[in-house]
């Protein structure tokens, strides 16, 4: 249980923080698709007897490159490119898993995560990824934020926008591999989108938002695990749902605030 707790905190914080960049860049679909396409990597690695994380990481890279390639022609949008890769690669992965032995339980693990069964190896991987992400954010955080908010200025200032894009996508892919263990690929999006959306509602500036999102992600991980302990529900879904509830609550609060402001503005504004 202690290992699960550490894993939950790491996965939650990683996804929460990186999710902010994803949110600002409008990459929610991409994040969601990575969580599905790496299942093919998991299946292939399992068949080849290689570590599962390796296969997952390889497929994440393939997804990143393929999305760029498909969208490059100009006829198909990025949305379409992702819409092609997600079902194709995920479908192939599910098909492979279905062809192998003991497939039912493995499928459920992959889909919903198996945080309670996390091993020391998983923890080491999670810690390594967290360190890598933290390092990347320390070194290139300002540049990544700039590219997220104002691409043309970043380009004008001489930054290689392409490289920074790839860096961000790579970090998201790494986080996906870690979160795969914790909440399963189906619920990775919840961790990637929920805490940032909530933080966005409550913060005006970017870096406080990132910190808050990381905290919220970690907190959701802990809350979900306690829900599992006390209420005997699946851990993965519980964590995701915790995130979702907080996000929805925050949205309602923010929406209420906005309605208040609009009512005040139109009441106060007289004829020109």
């Amino acid at each position: 249980m202690r290992r699960a707790l550490v894993e939950a905190v790491l996965a939650g914080a990683l996804c929460g923080a990186l999710g902010c960049f994803v949110l600002v860049r409008g990459l929610a679909f991409f994040g969601e698709s990575i969580s599905h396409t790496i299942v093919l990597g998991v299946a292939l690695a399992f068949l080849a007897g290689l570590p599962v994380s390796l296969g997952a990481a390889a497929l994440a890279a393939v997804t990143v490159l393929a999305v760029q390639a498909i969208g490059a022609g100009g006829r198909l949008s990025r949305d379409t490119a992702i819409g092609i890769l997600l079902p194709s690669l995920f479908g192939a992965g599910v098909a492979l898993i279905a062809l192998s032995e003991g497939y039912r339980s493995r499928l459920e693990d992959v889909l919903f995560g198996s945080i309670l069964g996390v091993t020391d190896a998983d923890l080491i991987l999670a810690a390594a990824v967290a360190a890598a992400v933290a390092g990347a954010l320390l070194l290139a955080g300002k540049e990544l934020a700039l590219v997220a908010f104002d691409r043309s200025t970043a380009r004008a200032m001489g930054y290689s926008v392409r490289l920074l894009d790839l860096l961000l996508l790579g970090l998201v892919a790494l986080a996906a591999v870690v979160a795969l263990r914790a909440v399963g690929n189906l619920l990775l999006t919840a961790l990637l989108v929920g805490p940032p959306v909530t933080a966005r509602m409550l913060c005006r500036r970017f870096w406080p938002m990132v910190a808050l999102a990381a905290a919220l992600g970690a907190g959701a991980g802990i809350a979900g695990l306690y829900a599992t302990w006390y209420f005997d529900v699946g851990a993965g879904p519980a964590i995701a749902l915790a995130v979702g509830c907080v996000a929805v609550a925050a949205s309602l609060v923010a929406q209420g605030r906005r309605w208040e402001r609009r009512r005040a503005a139109t009441a106060g504004a007289g004829p020109q």
Binding site: G74, S77, R262, A265, P271, Q272
Partner: protein, 253 residues
Amino acid sequence: MKRAAAGSPPAIVALDLSVAYEGRPALTGVTFSVPAGTLAGVLGPNGAGKTTLLRALLGVVSHTGSVEVNGSTSYVPQLSAVDRTFPVDALGVVLMGRYPRLGWLRAPRANDRRVAAELLDQMGLSDRARSPFASLSGGQRQRVLVARALAQEGEVMLLDEPLTGIDAASQEVVLRVLADHCADGHTVCMTTHDLAQAARVCDRLLILDGRLVAEGPTREVFRPEIIRAAYRAELLSLDGETALVHHGVHPAP
């Protein structure tokens, strides 16, 4: 220049027109009228409310005060708004201009196709009729969009920055077609930020800056003191080329 249709009501009348977006005013107290058969130019710096004025004339934005357009309208939005990757050829785009008059059950008829082909011909694009819209140059695309508006056969045509960023040859074609359109009694109202060009081709000018700074026949409006007041700049003529020279900083929109 162009004859205004004698005795007919003005094509456009605005009375104390005001538009605000979420409490922030974009246009305030604009009053003017545009006679039928006129080529009117709407000028002003960025953020002056030119596009907003067109939107109000089209009736797609809520406003206070009144605005009246006598006759059906056709519209040429800014070039950037179009989805260039959409699978359609030049003829297909012009044909879209016939859709509003078709209704649900009717398909474009031979007559519609003939009209579209003729309009493309007027624009000098007959040889590109079957080319994908995406493969056309900026100037060619703009010509196609103007042809689409002509295909609508409206009485009043509104264009948003139709000459911006397109090659000189295409500009000449568009201006010639618009001038002919007015000569036939139609009314054209276009926004632009090219003051000199507007003065050359338009019968009437409206200068906006959140409010109406000046409006009237070109020769009355295109005067140094009015330009100075509107743009806070001087109009300089040098070897037949006219330019605006700003003094001081123009307040941000």
